[in-house]
Symmetry: C2
Subunit: 236 residues, 2 copies
């Protein structure tokens, strides 16, 4: 039976500078946090994309320019309302504007999603191993809307070293009966927890979630575990 | 500018007994946790529903009985695949089986959602005020799937004394530009964080999230702040 831990800490990582192309995020995190083995480091997509040079010019005076860029980043446009588009990205994410974002970036530029956010997470994890000497999990988070609920929440778009989905199949409930809900997306819950200490407007792009169940610390992938293939979907 | 806090603790509340009709959840929580002012107490829908007598008989040998019950609890059936239904409940929630659940309940019975989960949260908050003498926020959580992501996460179906959605409109990003993402569903992020220490199989039905931004502690409602009205929806 997989048991949850009994206490977590969620700590923001202060002092990370404005990130530019080539900046080593794992090294910057390692220098600013007292990391412990088994910590999960959550970093926002925004700084990961900036470090990977995923920044393009955009005409910010033209409201349609973001939509056109979003469409160019999509494999499918699912819904369109004015200049708002909900798309499916090459990664298989369904989100507004293919994740294209004009906030927290210089005027006239837009940030795109990382090409392979699981790979980004692995790279950050490896940098932390080298520079802090500890084995951590890493989640790359982004802010997505939801079809039927207002407000956005942070979810995982990439991960390394920590489960994306924990499978409780075969576990028994408190009364000894087989659980009907069997797959829990802990990476999304970890990303959301981290957002509670980061905040969209405070400019803190990284946090630690300390105390997760050690059984969750394993090789992992958002693409393989969380992305729902087109054919499985009831709502696309 | 709303700033997130710099550190959170997420603590499970141990020792809550099996809940039956009429059991005072707020009093039971207050007796088992060292609550502090500003804590957010998260309790699972399951124990709230049980305490409110929202338990009905069901023929557990008939796989269609859960679907029929779910349909009777729905205002709309959105998708059907075999005996799985995705519905819109009277509350406006879009979820599997109208939230009807056969796990963690005696064989031959099913648990329905509370009639008014915001009211349930207020009642628990008031009980805690009386029995622990502290003002806390309360979130009633339930486990929902998502249209385009595998795995379930816990979300808020009711709340009291803590914001469901925090509006950052008018806030500036780290570079001094207006934020494009303005409404963050902190109640869902709090519910998900709490799930990380409760776990579906460990039978812990309550947790504390300590250290949330004091600006979030206010009157609130999942129904008014999170439920997306039918007419706003792009995917129903």
């Amino acid at each position: 039976m997989t048991k949850g831990p009994r206490g977590l800490q969620v700590l923001s990582i202060e002092g990370i500078p404005e990130i530019g192309r080539g900046d080593p995020i794992g090294e910057l995190v390692a220098a600013r946090a007292e990391l412990e083995p088994g910590d999960v480091v959550v970093v926002t997509q925004k700084i990961v994309s900036k470090s990977e040079g995923r920044v393009v010019e955009v005409d910010s005076s033209d409201p349609a320019s973001k939509r056109r860029l979003a469409e160019s980043e999509a494999v499918r446009v699912l819904r369109r309302r004015g200049d708002l588009v909900v798309t499916e990205t090459r990664h298989g994410f369904v989100c507004a504007s293919s994740g294209v974002d004009l906030s927290n970036v210089d005027d006239g530029f837009a940030v795109l999603l990382p090409v392979d956010p699981d790979r980004s997470a692995r790279r950050i994890r490896d940098q932390i191993r080298v520079h802090a000497g500890v084995e951590v999990g890493v989640v790359v988070s982004d802010t997505f809307g939801r079809a039927w609920r207002r407000g956005v929440t942070d979810v995982a778009i990439g991960c390394a070293g920590v489960a994306a989905v924990v499978d409780l199949r075969g576990s028994l409930d408190g009364l000894g009966r087989e659980l009907s809900v069997t797959e829990v997306c802990v990476a999304d819950e970890i990303a959301g927890a981290a957002d509670l200490v980061m905040g969209k407007s405070s400019g803190i792009p990284a946090a630690i979630v300390r105390g997760v169940d050690p059984a969750w610390l394993r090789e992992s992938s958002v693409r393989d575990e969380i992305v729902r293939p087109y054919g499985e979907d009831l709502f696309r």
